[in-house]
């Protein structure tokens, strides 16, 4: 596997992208901002196409669009945490703009160029060049470092914003910083798994970690580990079964991990409350 250049590149970029997604994803689920992550990933599509229509590097468009929209969403919402109606409306419009740029780009290049649109939507991790992969890895490391640096206060601010604010934690600034990081992660991961699929990498490992342990630091580490596992397994599966696109394999493994965690948790809860199963009245009281 590693004899191939394209696979080494995918492995390098994928590992750091997954690491960033796992860490950021933990906070996304903790702060109930999965929908914001979803919206930002779709915004990445518009960013890529706007850059293509303007004739500049798509990555500049990706990051500019996701980070800018993240800040707008955070700025409009209360306590810098964007409510779902605002997200829905803003991102529907941004996607509409994306369609506009797609039309513009297709006309500019003589029509019929849907390839770029498809790449932005579904990703192309096996198509990364060595330089692309190195850059993706560097950005991934920067995101990981930033999220670890603010992890402690962010955790406090996410779990109990009121108390955190009283203790002098800058809740609003943290919320905005976090959304900007989420935007950067969305831009980063779009290169690998595409704008439509990156939510799986963001939400599934983190959701599984949340179900498996209540200890925040353990869950944070677990989330990152699960995301990287999903990425590695997905890449390997996709390499062995060439008809399976890498994005599908990665997201499939991530969803399977979430499903396992869901079932594991459900079965342990059943065992923990043996009497509750027999007595409905007791179950109501216990809950």
């Amino acid at each position: 596997m590693f004899a191939h250049e394209f696979f080494r590149n995918a492995f390098l970029a994928g590992t750091f992208i997954a690491l960033a997604c796992g860490l950021v994803g933990y906070f996304v689920v903790l702060r109930a901002q999965v929908f914001a992550g979803d919206a930002l990933s779709h915004v990445a599509f518009t960013g890529a196409l706007a850059a293509a229509a303007a004739g500049i590097d798509t990555r500049i468009g990706l990051f500019a669009a996701t980070i800018a929209v993240a800040l707008v969403l955070g700025g409009v919402g209360e306590r810098a945490s964007a409510d779902d109606v605002t997200i829905g409306i803003v991102f529907a419009w941004i996607l509409g703009l994306g369609v506009f740029f797609l039309a513009l780009f297709s006309m500019g290049s003589g029509g019929g160029n849907g390839l770029l649109g498809a790449r932005a939507l579904f990703g192309s991790i096996f198509g990364l060049s060595t330089a692309d992969a190195r850059l993706a890895a560097v950005i991934g490391v920067a995101i990981v470092a930033a999220i670890l640096a603010i992890a402690r206060p962010l955790l406090f601010a996410s779990v109990d914003p009121g108390v955190a604010a009283v203790r002098g934690v800058p809740v609003r600034a943290l919320g905005l910083t976090f959304l900007a990081l989420l935007g950067a992660t969305a831009g980063e991961a779009t290169q690998a798994v595409g704008a439509l699929l990156l939510l799986g990498l963001l939400a599934a490992p983190a959701g599984a970690a949340h179900r498996l342990t209540a200890n925040p630091y353990l869950a944070l580490g677990l989330s990152a580990a699960l995301a990287v596992t999903a990425m590695w397994l997905g890449l390997a599966i996709s390499y062995t079964v060439p008809s399976l696109p890498p994005s599908t394999a990665v997201i499939g493994v991530a969803t399977a991990i979430y499903l396992l965690a869901f079932l594991l948790r459900a079965s342990t809860r059943m065992q923990a409350l043996p009497s509750a199963r027999q007595d409905p009245a007791h179950r109501l009281a216990g809950n």
Binding site: V34, G88, G96, L196, S243, G252, T255
Partner: protein, 306 residues
């Protein structure tokens, strides 16, 4: 899109009557306007409940099931709409049952489940597409909508689905409203909130599957969220809000279709842009009307509708 603009080579004039004549001169455009109106009415009503229940994310996820639905249908040779309804119904069931497993709605957990369902559905779609080994030629119109080539039969089918959805919603409307506004009290009064929650998601699935045929899977929000959210900003009253939501939806659709007819860009772009502008104007007007922020307005709105 290029064909349409060639047909409307003259472009809009200042005379609204001749514009209207131009718009309705071709049967395909009449079909598109009728289909758009049906979809806008239904989306306005269902969207109003969706915004009230804060289930925009679930709505978006259900709408994305267009992708696996259409590709699965392609793979086994069915019509895209059939695959669409099946997948969005399945996703609605999964989200509804998994999220309703607890006694109360837990928004954080619900959104994590929704996210996982969405990612998995899309991954399935991509898998079906690669199994098919062909090219999904119209993936852009699947995701971003198209108003060309809507047939009479499709208009009738849309009307039928809309009638069924609205009829069901009229039956469960009152208890659903109760359950949406105050779940605990509704539960104490014996309202089956969990069943209602799942039932509503199924209706939502029907509605998005239908809306997406005009706006495309990615842009259903323009018609589902924007009119409803604008209506809820303007009025806290239930009946008036529903009517306003429907009217706004219909106007947005007409404006979007007319713009797409006269000018050379995709209909999805125009519909989303008009919807966005309407929402922003309403929100700014509201902010200006009452100095205290929107937060207080929302609390009052919830009290009023309870």
């Amino acid at each position: 899109m290029l064909i349409t603009s060639a047909l409307a080579a003259a472009g809009p004039s200042l005379d609204p009557i001749s514009d209207l004549e131009q718009l309705t001169a071709y049967p395909f455009m009449v079909n598109a306007l009728q289909a758009g109106t049906i979809v806008a009415v239904m989306a306005g009503v269902v969207g109003w409940f969706m915004v009230l229940r804060r289930q925009t994310f679930a709505g978006h996820t259900l709408s994305l099931m267009a992708f696996p639905g259409a590709t699965a249908a392609l793979l086994i040779g069915l019509s895209a709409a059939a695959g669409y309804f099946v997948f969005s119904g399945l996703a609605a069931l999964i989200i509804g049952t998994a999220a309703g497993a607890r006694r109360r709605r837990n928004l954080g957990q619900e959104s994590a489940i929704t996210g996982a369902v969405q990612a998995f559905g899309l991954a399935c779609g991509f898998l079906f597409l690669s199994l098919y080994q062909g090219v999904l030629a119209n993936y852009e119109s699947l995701l971003f909508g198209s108003f060309l080539g809507i047939t009479r039969g499709q208009v009738l089918a849309l009307a039928l689905v809309a009638a069924v959805t609205l009829g069901l919603l009229a039956i469960v409307g009152r208890p659903l409203l109760f359950a949406s506004v105050d779940e605990d009290v509704a539960q104490a009064r014996g309202v089956p909130t969990r069943v209602l929650g799942i039932g509503f998601l199924l209706l939502l699935g029907l509605a998005v599957a239908e809306t997406a045929q005009i706006t495309g899977a990615l842009l259903v929000f323009a018609l589902l969220v924007a009119p409803a959210a604008t209506a809820q900003i303007i009025t806290p009253r239930i009946g008036l809000g529903l009517v306003l939501s429907v009217v706004l939806g219909v106007l947005i659709t007409w404006a979007g279709l007319a713009l797409a007819y006269f000018y050379d860009y995709p209909v999805g772009f125009y519909v989303t842009t008009v919807a966005f502008v309407v929402y922003v104007v309403a929100r700014l007007a509201r902010t200006l009307a009452e100095r205290p922020t929107l937060l207080r307005g929302r609390v009052r709105r919830a009290e009023a509708s309870a």
